[in-house]
């Protein structure tokens, strides 16, 4: 069901850069928009997104689907998502392998799941429901984690791979999150990459994180760390030319700095895999 697209290298669309995106076409191949920020019917955000969509491909990236929650899937959320997908016609639709709501309470966080057969059955059923509703494959991102569960019977990469096989969904592989979780939970990040089927990977996330001494915190508030660039190279060698998305969500700098970091991803890809073919724009 899922097929990788040749999108190139993009950045997250953030409010701080709206004026620039309205006035020009910044030198990026595509943008990723946080789904929930554009679900309102009117106002500036959706007008900006529609303009940007006329200029370049847009990927919708959700944070509140709560695919792993034991609560019923929010009908209101699915209605809003389906309406936005029809309006924007995004290249891809993604969210996170996590849960963030319970008993009707939204925690607004990307909380980890125990990787058990019970959780796999549960999430697989909900992924299928969402995919039927939006009429396309969903991509799920590996979250940054600070804790794991005694009940887990499989690794995160085994869980994600099984989910892809069962439902036809894809993986949004956050390279920074692999690095952060590997350090926090004590696994080998390269083993994580080796455990993922290249066919399942839709695009990469790259972002900065903070070092809090005893753990790494997924902050998205700075440049990509050297260790994450190294892991990105490992990922390129295994998965080939996969689109990349540079995230910068806090202490957001001028657009040029974000674009420069994305161009660095493009340069590293060229070093590893040779120059990319030209893209029509």
């Amino acid at each position: 069901m899922f097929q990788r697209l040749d999108l190139g290298h993009g950045i997250g669309l953030r409010t701080q850069h709206f004026a620039r995106f309205l006035a020009e076409r910044p030198p990026v191949d595509w943008v990723e928009a946080v789904t929930e920020n554009f679900m309102a019917d009117g106002g500036r955000p959706i007008a900006v997104l529609e303009k940007v969509r006329r200029d370049m491909p847009v990927v919708l990236h959700g944070v509140s689907l709560s695919i792993g929650s034991v609560d019923p899937i929010s009908v209101e959320y699915l209605d809003d998502l389906e309406r936005l997908v029809r309006r924007i016609e995004p290249a891809l639709v993604s969210d996170h392998l996590c849960w963030g709501s319970h008993r009707g309470q939204y925690l607004h966080d990307l909380l980890p799941l125990p990787y058990t057969e019970e959780a796999l059955d549960h999430v697989a059923g909900r992924v299928s429901t969402v995919q039927e509703r939006i009429g396309r494959a969903l991509l799920l991102e590996n979250p940054s984690a600070y804790v794991s569960f005694r009940d887990s019977t499989m690794t995160e990469w085994e869980f994600l791979s099984a989910l892809c096989r069962r439902t036809g969904c894809g993986i949004l592989l956050d390279v920074n999150n692999v690095h952060v979780s590997a350090r926090n939970l004590g696994f080998d990040p390269v083993a994580y990459l080796d455990g993922i089927d290249p066919e399942h990977v839709g695009y990469f996330h790259l972002a900065g994180h903070g070092d809090r001494g005893r753990y790494l915190l997924d902050t998205h508030d700075g440049v990509v760390a050297a260790a994450v660039w190294d892991l990105y190279r490992e990922a390129l060698r295994r998965f080939g030319r996969v689109p990349s998305l540079l995230e910068w969500d806090d202490r957001i700098p001028p657009l040029e700095e974000v674009v420069a970091e994305s161009l660095r991803a493009a340069a590293i890809e060229a070093e590893e895999l040779g120059p990319a073919l030209r893209r029509a724009s």
């Binding site: 019917d41 106002g43 966080d109 804790v147 005694r150």
Partner: protein
């Protein structure tokens, strides 16, 4: 432990409803010598609180600026404990903050509930649906004008504030000194021009008239709100004409 039990435990630990010393924690979560499980859960707990406080600060920047970091965070934490988020959009978390401030008023600044209502309404208007508007010529095709009804623009709101929060907001926006709170019942209209959110205080009669228009009352009833004016017809005409000019009217429907 089932998935449901795990999530219930995790939710309680993250929100602070359960202590990090809860007996079940060790059986559910895996920690390490360097970073034991309770400290790992504490990371999630601190992020939960910070995210909701940040969400409220984004929606209520003037209130946050007025209270200062410490007082605003204390208010936000009390509020979130009383009203946990029930919507996938974190931007909706502040929906009940004005009401919370009315039931938990600041003894020195009873006008803060109105300031919060002003900021919340501006936030609603920012995301309101777009739509076409009509000019006063639309009345020409409506037949009996007194029976005609106005459909108001989707972004238009009117709030009844107990204090002059618009003046307080203006001082906070411009950095001017803030006056003591003044109990002045003030209707305030909110609307959007392009992407800009605007608001302005209204005379009492015009506030009543605008509320009647938003409720779909016929123009005859709307004009009755100006009955106490020396020249009611002229006052009603001036006010309703300005509504068309401001882009507050989406359509005119002929009366039945």
């Amino acid at each position: 432990m089932t998935l449901a039990e795990t999530q219930e435990l995790f939710r309680g630990l993250v929100t602070g409803e359960l202590p990090l010393e809860d007996d079940r924690l060790a059986g559910c979560f895996r920690g390490s010598g360097e970073l034991p499980a309770p400290e790992r859960l504490a990371i999630y707990r601190s992020m939960y609180a910070a995210r909701l406080v940040d969400g409220l600060r984004e929606t209520f920047p003037a209130l946050a600026g007025f209270l200062g970091e410490e007082r605003f965070e204390a208010l936000a934490r009390d509020y979130v404990a009383a009203h946990p988020s029930e919507h996938h959009d974190v931007g909706r978390i502040g929906r009940l903050l004005p009401a919370f401030l009315r039931t938990h008023p600041d003894p020195d600044r009873p006008d803060l509930a109105d300031l919060a209502e002003l900021e919340w309404t501006r936030n609603e208007v920012f995301f309101a649906p777009d739509g076409p508007v009509v000019g006063p010529e639309a009345l020409a095709g409506a037949g009996d004008v007194a029976a005609a009804r106005l459909r108001m623009a989707g972004s238009l709101r009117v709030a009844s504030l107990a204090h002059d929060a618009a003046a307080l907001w203006r001082c906070l926006e411009s950095g001017a000194p803030v006056d003591p709170p003044a109990a002045v019942p003030t209707p305030v209209a909110f609307w959007r021009r392009g992407f800009d959110v605007l608001h302005c205080p209204l005379p009492r009669e015009e506030g009543e008239a605008l509320r009647a228009a938003l409720h779909g009352e016929p123009l005859g009833s709307i004009c009755a709100a100006f009955g106490d004016r020396p020249d009611p017809a002229a006052a009603a005409h001036a006010a309703i004409s300005s509504w068309f000019l401001e882009g507050w009217v989406a359509a005119v429907r002929a009366g039945a």
